[in-house]
């Protein structure tokens, strides 16, 4: 096993692309090291990206935010600007693992681990976040929902690294929220989760919406019909009920050790309603 700590993206991409065996990228290591210690994987090459310039920073630009691949979730929690503009994304990131894990783990790692139950992903999908990917063929930007393709699988090509997650600057009267269901109060993994992102007009009517569900399908679901249930209406009982129904119906869950199909369907609708209510309030809706 070889461990390297490149100082530039070019070097990291080159090493990854040129490695003959299995390779893994190390940022926080909260998934990688656990899987290595558990004996599930033994990569030939480990590329630690934490020394690459800029990857540990949250940058504010005219367009919005760029969250580097080595930014820990705890650091996101300390960014006042990010908390103000994307509270739903931050609350999702701050739910991962424990306090200790949050000091190490990253949202890019959470995305690339490609678990259907990843906490930050539904919030990022709802937020319309994009991933900035650097690879042997240059740079490209894709919607975050295009990165995971199934449990443990991503659309990243050999040698490609996600450099940052990009979030837009907020329109006025916008709010987002994320909720997950776990049987415990913390230190757990989502059985069902929902991220909702809304922008209202000056009358409190939903102008645009994105609704994402986690842990109810092989990948995080962006439920367009759920957004349609909200757009053009205030968040009244009827809209919420319709939202819940649509979300329950959109689930393609399985029975497993964490929950049943029926439970996930039902609770997906409940969480979507509750997250929408919070997002609506954060957007200033009454």
């Amino acid at each position: 096993m070889r461990y390297i700590r490149p100082l530039s993206m070019e070097d990291a991409v080159g090493q990854l692309a040129g490695s003959p065996g299995t390779a893994a990228i190390l940022a926080g290591g909260s998934d990688l090291l656990v899987r290595m210690k558990g004996g599930f994987i033994e990569p030939d090459l480990i590329v630690d990206i934490k020394a690459i310039d800029g990857l540990g920073e949250i940058r504010e630009t005219a367009e919005g935010f760029s969250i580097g691949a080595a930014v820990s979730c705890a650091l996101m929690g300390e960014s006042a600007a990010l908390n103000r503009e994307w509270p739903g994304v931050v609350e999702a990131a701050k739910l991962i693992g424990s306090k200790q894990v949050q000091g190490r783990c990253t949202i890019v790692g959470n995305l690339c681990n490609a678990s259907p139950a990843a906490d930050s992903v539904p919030a990022l999908v709802a937020a319309g976040a994009r991933a900035l990917i650097v690879g042997p063929g240059g740079r490209r930007t894709v919607a975050v929902e295009a990165v995971p393709t199934g449990p443990g699988k991503t659309s990243l090509a050999k040698g490609e690294i996600i450099e940052a997650i990009l979030l837009d600057r907020r329109a006025p009267r916008s709010g987002d929220a994320y909720l997950r269901f776990i049987p415990r109060t913390e230190m757990d993994i989502a059985v069902v989760s929902a991220g909702v992102n809304l922008t209202l007009d000056e009358h409190g009517v939903v102008k645009s919406a994105r609704v994402a569900l986690g842990a109810v399908a092989p990948t995080v679901l962006l439920v367009e019909e759920a957004a349609e249930a909200l757009i053009g209406r205030k968040l009244d009982e009827a809209a919420l009920e319709r939202l819940g129904k649509v979300c329950s119906g959109a689930c393609r869950p399985i029975d497993d050790k964490r929950g049943t199909v029926e439970f996930r369907r039902k609770v997906a609708g409940v969480l979507a309603r509750r997250a929408a209510t919070t997002a609506y309030a954060r957007a200033g809706g009454k």
Binding site: G38, G39, F181, P183, R184, T185, E186, M187, D188, I189, V191, G244, K245, S248, G249, D256, K257, R258, G259, T260, E262, F263, R265, K266, V267, G269, V270, L271
Partner: protein, 758 residues
């Protein structure tokens, strides 16, 4: 030995105070040595290969490739642990569980082991061991295993205890029955009858420290074992028997213990580590991973229980019966029997009958878990009792008070009770402010009672007085709950000296006579009795030495407040001699001063508790939140009240986890789906409220200070108390533990008659 264990009703100076524990600083600074902290020069890493099948015949094991791998020093299979059990069926089961002989009987059953120079080599070697399995049909569910169509795990098992001897083998090893009176007549007198069926899933003790040991077998056949255990003398006995050694040739030293709760009363890895060391000729360290702990140590039974209770309008129970089916894993046990004995032990019943069935399943061998088998029986009985009170229209506490056992009651399992604490804990619960705390929307309150026998057993203790007057106390019961602090208090009390002057240690198996394990809530009960006896023996010598120093008859010397006093006016001018002064002169008066004690601590007083719990249920998700929790339990006498409270809180915390989320989840393939703390959900700190405690002291007449065991009873009521609270909050009776959110939500939906929204 001339020791009077009867309760004497004295006043205490040290007992009942709360000094800091002698092992505390080392534990919080990381200096304390646990099982995996022992190391020896040249030690090898031991790893165990485990069956991936729930049930399979082992046709052939080929270890040749693993043996050839560079760095591998020993590979063993069952052939390296020959059967020396000589017809002892229970010991044979232990042997077969340590290393499968003909069949793998559960996912995780050990089939081979290696010792290698490092962990990586050991892991690689495991992959090189080739095993030819013939996979057999399996059964993991307790009810399924009782069906005629179920695959039979052991075709030599014919159910014991049936009126007619069975002609066919089955998975039911034994039927047991307890009770008295006439059930049919009793139900005939009842105005109300509640009949319900309950299930509880299998849980693990969840101790934080995995099993760990270092074994070192010398070329001369003697051996050392350093191990995390609840009973190093028992481990010595089992290991020596399984390996064909004389017990005295194997010295076992117990480490600090990061939790046991009954799960460290049984050998798994230790005989394997010794066999590896014997073959390799080097020390071997074997540490189980968490995955191995879940798959292959000893969780508690899964159960299926039917309860029927009848009562008159005035609230008097006229008849009670229960049928209890407990899983044992693949080997015979007496788990259902313990359930059958404890189920109705809280009540004064004219007509009662319980029947237990021990059931074999393809799961790990059941081991003790804190008051083993009682919590599940209490869950079923106390749920039905609650419902019956509701039907009659009586307050659940009043209903229980009316039917509670008292001194002189013939218990449902046979013996007649002496002074007991069930009534007082119920009265205390009735008057506790918790009962008046306001409940909000979707919140419910539940309460329940629990019983445990407690145990005494064989105990051997040494008390040595140094020349500086300090006292070292060597005990043979492993300290799992603060017993070194409690026993130091007891020694200080008897000798009349300061707690700080006493240092208690857990001695190894070569330094003391045999001691039973720290189980059955016996640690402080039995070792305090032995400590009192040892201290009194030392006082006898101290008096003799003082008499010698003064040149007076020993009968004129008494021991008071840590001093020898010459009694009578004629000695008026003699200043009292302190323990220090006598010890300082001991070299000239006959040598070291010590007190020894060996005894069987009989008369462990039975223990009762009542718990109250408030729960909030989210009716849309089935999520629960424990709002308040109160434990009221009889301690006889709380030697160190802080650690008694700790036991009360710990039992409640484990019970909350068991009641709400913990369970073994098996797939259709018979493999355990959740062998880790992510998906086997013990409560985290934020899941628990502050657990309030109230210690009652109803002295045990069979202990000089009135002490009763306190460690186990606290896990008996929680499943029932929480189930009653959840049922009251959700408006639907919960009959399946754990009450995980999907189960609660499904029950709420079913009660509403609603369908799942599509």
């Amino acid at each position: 030995m001339n020791f009077d264990p009867r309760y004497s009703g004295r006043n205490f100076a040290s007992v009942g105070t709360r000094p800091i524990r002698p092992d505390g600083v080392d534990k919080v600074t990381g200096r304390a040595r646990y099982g995996a902290d022992f190391n020896m020069a040249g030690q090898l890493v031991g790893r165990v290969l485990r069956s991936p099948h729930a049930h399979a015949t082992i046709r052939k094991i080929d270890t040749s490739k693993a043996e050839k791998l560079n760095g591998v020093k020993a590979v063993i299979t069952a052939a390296d642990l020959p059967d020396l059990t000589d017809g002892d069926a229970a010991l044979y089961d232990i042997l077969d569980n340590c290393m499968a002989r003909k069949k793998a009987l559960y996912d995780g059953h050990a089939v081979a082991a290696v010792a290698a120079v490092d962990a990586r080599t050991a892991r690689q070697a495991l992959k090189l061991i080739e095993i030819d399995y013939e996979v057999l049909p399996h059964v993991t569910d307790v009810d399924e295993a009782m069906k005629h169509s179920a695959p039979v795990l052991d075709d030599t098992i014919f159910t014991e205890g049936l009126e007619q001897e069975p002609v066919k083998p089955s998975n039911v090893t034994k039927r047991s029955q307890y009770g008295h009176g006439d059930i049919h007549a009793g139900f005939g007198q009842a105005d109300y009858v509640v009949e319900r069926s309950f299930k509880t899933e299998q849980t693990h003790q969840g101790y934080i420290e995995p099993h760990a040991c270092v074994a070192s077998v010398s070329a001369d056949g003697t051996a050392d074992l350093w191990v995390c255990t609840q009973g190093h003398f028992v481990y010595r006995q089992h290991c020596a028997q399984l390996l064909g050694m004389e017990a005295s040739k194997l010295r076992v030293t117990s480490s600090e213990i990061g939790g046991g709760f009954g799960g460290k009363t049984h050998v798994w890895a230790e005989p394997v580590a010794l066999a590896l060391s014997r073959k390799a000729g080097r020390p071997v360290k074997l540490v189980m991973t968490r995955d191995e702990v879940f798959r292959a140590s000893g969780p508690t039974s899964a159960t299926s229980i039917d309860v029927r209770i009848g009562a008159r309008k005035d609230g008097t129970i006229t008849a009670a019966e229960a049928t209890l089916r407990y899983s044992c894993g693949p080997y015979a046990g007496m788990w259902a029997e313990l359930g059958a004995m404890t189920a109705f032990a809280c009540y004064n019943l004219a007509n009662v009958r319980t029947v237990g069935y021990e059931v074999l399943v393809n799961r790990p061998k059941t081991a003790a878990y804190r008051a083993p088998s009682a919590p599940m029986a209490a869950f079923a009985v106390e749920s039905a009792v609650d419902e019956l009170a509701k039907e009659i229209g009586m307050d659940p506490v009043e209903f229980r008070i009316r039917n509670a056992a008292q001194e002189g009651t013939r218990s449902s399992y046979g013996p007649v009770y002496g002074p007991i604490g069930i009534g007082p804990t119920l009265e205390a619960a009735k008057n506790h402010p918790h009962m008046q705390a306001p409940l909000g929307k979707n919140q419910g309150r539940g309460m329940a009672c629990g019983f445990w026998f407690n145990f005494g057993g064989q105990t051997c203790t040494d008390l040595n007085i140094g020349m500086d007057g300090s006292v070292s106390l060597a005990v043979g019961t492993v300290d799992v709950g603060g017993s070194r602090a409690s026993l130091s208090l007891v020694a200080a009390e008897e000798l009349g000296i300061a707690y700080e002057q006493v240092k208690a240690v857990v001695a190894d198996t070569s330094s003391l006579g045999y001691n039973d394990m720290t189980d059955g809530s016996r640690g402080t009960f039995s070792s305090s009795m032995a400590t009192i006896s040892a201290a009194r023996n030392a006082i006898k010598i101290l008096r003799e030495r003082a008499a010698q120093m003064w040149d007076v008859p020993v009968d004129d010397v008494v021991w008071e407040n840590g001093h020898a006093i010459a009694k009578g006016e004629k000695y008026g001018n003699l200043a009292a001699l302190s323990l220090r002064e006598i010890a300082a002169g001991s070299g000239k008066t006959g040598g070291p001063i010590a007190g020894h004690s060996e005894l069987v601590a009989d008369g462990a007083g039975v223990s009762f508790a009542t718990h109250i719990c408030d729960i909030e249920v989210d009716p849309e998700t089935g999520a629960t939140r424990v709002l308040r929790y109160t434990v009221l339990q009889d301690a006889g006498k709380a030697v160190h009240p802080t650690y008694v409270e700790g036991q009360y809180q710990g039992g409640a915390a484990q019970g909350i986890g068991w009641a709400l989320n913990e369970e073994y989840v098996y797939g259709k393939d018979g493999r355990l789906q959740n062998p880790g703390f992510l998906d086997y959900r013990i409560p985290v700190c934020s899941d628990l409220p502050m657990i309030d405690t109230q210690i009652l002291e109803i002295p045990n007449p069979n202990h000089p200070y009135g002490v009763r065991g306190v460690g186990e009873t606290s896990i008996v009521p929680p499943l029932a108390a929480i189930a009653n609270a959840v049922s009251n909050a959700a408006g639907v009776r919960m009959t399946h533990i754990p009450m995980s959110p999907p189960r609660i939500l499904a029950a709420i939906e079913a009660e509403r008659g609603g369908r799942w929204s599509k």
